[in-house]
């Protein structure tokens, strides 16, 4: 009996030993995860309820005041409008163009590699440097864009209201015009981002089984569109969900173009005052850590929401297991 108890006891201590070893081995990783990934978010969350400024020795709790400001002041209303305009414009167009370019490039064979490289160039280039190049091109008087548009003056193109207005008065100021500013940023976002989406779609396309197209042909899918609907589009389902989510997150994070074009404040009358720029301006430039943290938390919420939708879609809809 004593023997059994002794062996039982040693087994328990052995188990304990294993558990301790396991914890001690995971501890560094866990500690780093909390310290580097979770703690900053928690700190930002806590600070969003305060009026803390960097350098101050203390701070006061202000409750939900920072959040109330976000939903009451017109500056933040402009922030939401600019951000959502950008996301809603850039995501569908860059995903659509990426898919279209991928389908075209995929049908080409070897020549496709050249197109692939060209379309991918803007992705590889630094957006900040590219933004400066765009700024020159979009300059109202000496910029390439308006110079090119002026060529159309005196031709039949003047029948189009846009050209008529431009030739009689002046062409748009682009970056200086609050009606155009956000759209220019959107255009650059699409120009820069669709090549990346194309590459993701190309990877998705290689996994489509060739025999499925033959089966679709035998089943009577005559047009390219019918074959696309029956084979390509469903096969690209998981890729599309991923591309849309990535594009959304990237679109929410737009910052460098706006910082390069309007370092002093988010476009003419804050028409391009996107969330990332607001965080930078409030939290860093104006040292209003509380407000900056509140915008950050909201930002995190949007992105988290998108990621959750993606997970749900992938598990429910597009995984055909």
């Amino acid at each position: 009996m004593a023997l059994i108890e002794a062996s039982h006891g040693s087994k328990v201590s052995q188990d304990n030993h294993q558990v301790r070893t396991a914890w001690s081995m995971t501890a560094p990783a866990l500690a780093l995860m909390f310290l580097i990934l979770l703690a900053p978010i928690v700190v930002a969350g806590v600070l969003s309820f305060s009026n803390y400024s960097l350098g101050n020795t203390g701070f006061d709790w202000v409750g939900s005041q920072n959040y109330e400001r976000l939903f009451s002041r017109s500056t933040y209303e402009k922030m939401f409008i600019a951000t959502f305009t950008y996301v809603v414009t850039v995501v569908p167009i860059s995903v659509g163009l990426g898919l279209g370019a991928a389908l075209l490039v995929h049908s080409l064979g070897r020549v496709g590699d050249i197109y692939k490289t060209i379309y991918f160039l803007p992705v590889m280039a630094t957006l900040l440097a590219m933004a400066i190049a765009w700024e020159f091109m979009l300059h109202p008087t000496i910029g390439m864009v308006n110079r090119t548009l002026e060529i159309a003056c005196g031709t039949w193109l003047e029948t189009i209201p846009f050209f008529l207005q431009g030739c009689e008065g002046s062409f748009p100021l682009w970056l200086g015009d609050r009606d155009y500013a956000i759209w220019v940023v959107c255009f650059i976002g699409i120009w820069q981002g669709f090549g990346f989406n194309m590459v993701l779609f190309l990877a998705g396309l290689t996994s489509v089984h060739r025999e499925l197209y033959n089966a679709a042909e035998m089943d009577g899918a005559r047009s390219g569109w019918e074959q696309f609907r029956l084979v390509t589009w469903p096969a690209l389902g998981p890729t599309t969900v991923f591309v849309v989510t990535i594009s959304c997150i990237r679109a929410f994070q737009v910052f460098d173009t706006i910082e390069a074009f309007w370092p002093q404040g988010g476009g003419p009358s804050k028409s391009a005052y996107v969330m990332m720029f607001a965080i930078f301006e409030k939290g860093i430039q104006q040292n209003l850590i509380g407000v900056g943290s509140a915008i950050t938390m909201l930002f995190l919420l949007f992105v988290m929401f998108l990621t959750l939708i993606q997970r749900w879609l992938i598990e429910r809809k597009v995984h055909y297991g």
């Binding site: 089966a215 042909e217 035998m218 089943d219 009577g220």
Partner: protein, 384 residues
């Protein structure tokens, strides 16, 4: 009756010629297997019949109409693919319904919500689901209609692919190695089921396989292909017993046919240095090849035409295959023996082998059958 005609079809991929003028007439309701080693062009031929590949030269006609330049979707043929090629996002029922939806419904009728509002869509949809249920019942997959292909076993997927092929009434069924992804047991079972299905539907089946057993057991006729040509197209028993070419004789039959060199000299017919009492007609070439099926050889006591030593044997229960190395050379023969001969076969034992002259198949050195050389042996036997 009509059927399917393939006339002098050639196919070149760049410099390589995959099909070198294939002509084949398939009768209505016939089950024809295209069999041959991999790379012989059988799948390419099937794809040309289907319209998925265009022939370099030659023509394909279905029911007397030339369809050489008609695209696959308009040829009214069904195909079962080796990988089954089921649409992974559609349920079994939807998969089977695809050929009917694509052919019977317009593009607008197929739209998710709007389609239902167009007059005539409702009854059409009911007809389609009726046809799908009928096809599913015929293949005993009625219980699986709501599942996705990813949730099915290989055998079930294969049935769904068959269901998708037979849901509409095609002019012919084209099957491209449909059993190659199944395990051995299921393959035997499905083989019988496909043959039964053919009898029930009385439709034309063109079946591509590299497995001679599948071809032998299911077909009305077998077309043996090699190097881009059809060497022989005939009923399975004719292909086995009366091959035109040594390559056909070697490809069909397991274990492989035994080939021995035969010499026609002034003394008579010489087999491995032994003169045979073979009544050979005049004008036969000096060198020939003798083909003997494993079952044509039998074990005897005492003097015989062939002697050798047993080097290997496989006991399958109902029969025994023994490999014998002949003493007159380095030739290895396969012999089929009955279990009664079990005692006489042990490794290393000397055995005597005998065969009937009339069971020998004679080929020239190029591999063509020399039926003339066999005439007298057969006639002699019949007289006796």
């Amino acid at each position: 009756m009509s059927g399917l005609q393939i006339d002098a079809v050639t196919k070149d991929f760049g410099e390589t010629s995959v099909l070198k003028g294939v002509t084949l007439n398939i009768n209505d309701g016939e089950f024809v297997s295209l069999v041959g080693p991999s790379g012989c062009g059988k799948s390419t031929l099937l794809r040309i019949i289907a319209g998925l590949e265009t022939a370099t030269r030659g023509s394909v006609s279905i029911d007397g109409t030339d369809v050489t330049h008609v695209r696959a979707a308009d040829r009214n043929l069904s195909m079962v693919f080796q990988s089954y090629a089921l649409y992974p996002h559609l349920t079994v029922a939807e998969n089977i319904a695809v050929p009917l939806r694509m052919r019977q419904m317009s593009t607008t009728q197929r739209l998710p919500v709007v389609g239902g509002l167009i007059p005539g869509t409702g009854p059409l949809k009911r007809d389609i689901s009726q046809a799908v249920r009928h096809a599913a019942e015929m293949l005993e997959i009625g219980a699986l209609l709501d599942r996705k292909p990813g949730q099915l076993s290989g055998g079930q997927r294969q049935r769904v692919a068959l269901g998708r092929a037979l849901v509409r009434n095609p002019a012919a069924f084209l099957l491209d190695e449909p059993l190659s992804n199944l395990d051995a047991k299921l393959r035997v079972q499905t083989r019988a089921e496909i043959a039964q299905l053919h009898r029930k539907l009385k439709a034309t089946f063109i079946y591509v396989t590299h497995d001679q057993v599948e071809a032998m057991t299911m077909s009305d006729r077998i077309a043996v292909m090699m190097g881009g040509e059809i060497l022989q197209c005939a009923a399975p028993d004719v292909i086995y017993e009366d091959p035109d070419d040594i390559r056909v004789a070697e490809f069909i039959g397991s274990p492989k046919i035994n080939i021995l060199p035969l010499e026609h000299t002034d003394d008579g017919v010489v087999l491995l240095g032994r003169v045979l009492d073979w009544p050979m007609p005049a004008g036969m070439p000096h060198l020939m090849q003798l083909g003997l099926r494993p079952e044509a050889l039998r074990l005897v006591e005492g003097p015989s035409k062939l002697r050798g030593r047993v080097v290997h044997f496989e006991n399958l229960g109902s029969e025994i295959f023994a490999q014998v190395v002949l003493s007159d050379g380095d030739i290895r023969l396969t012999l089929r023996a009955t279990p009664a001969d079990r005692q006489r076969l042990s490794l290393g034992k000397e055995v005597s082998l005998e065969f009937e002259l009339r069971s020998g198949l004679i080929f020239d050195t190029a591999g063509k059958r020399l039926r003339m050389a066999e005439v007298k042996t057969r006639a002699a036997k019949e007289v006796a």
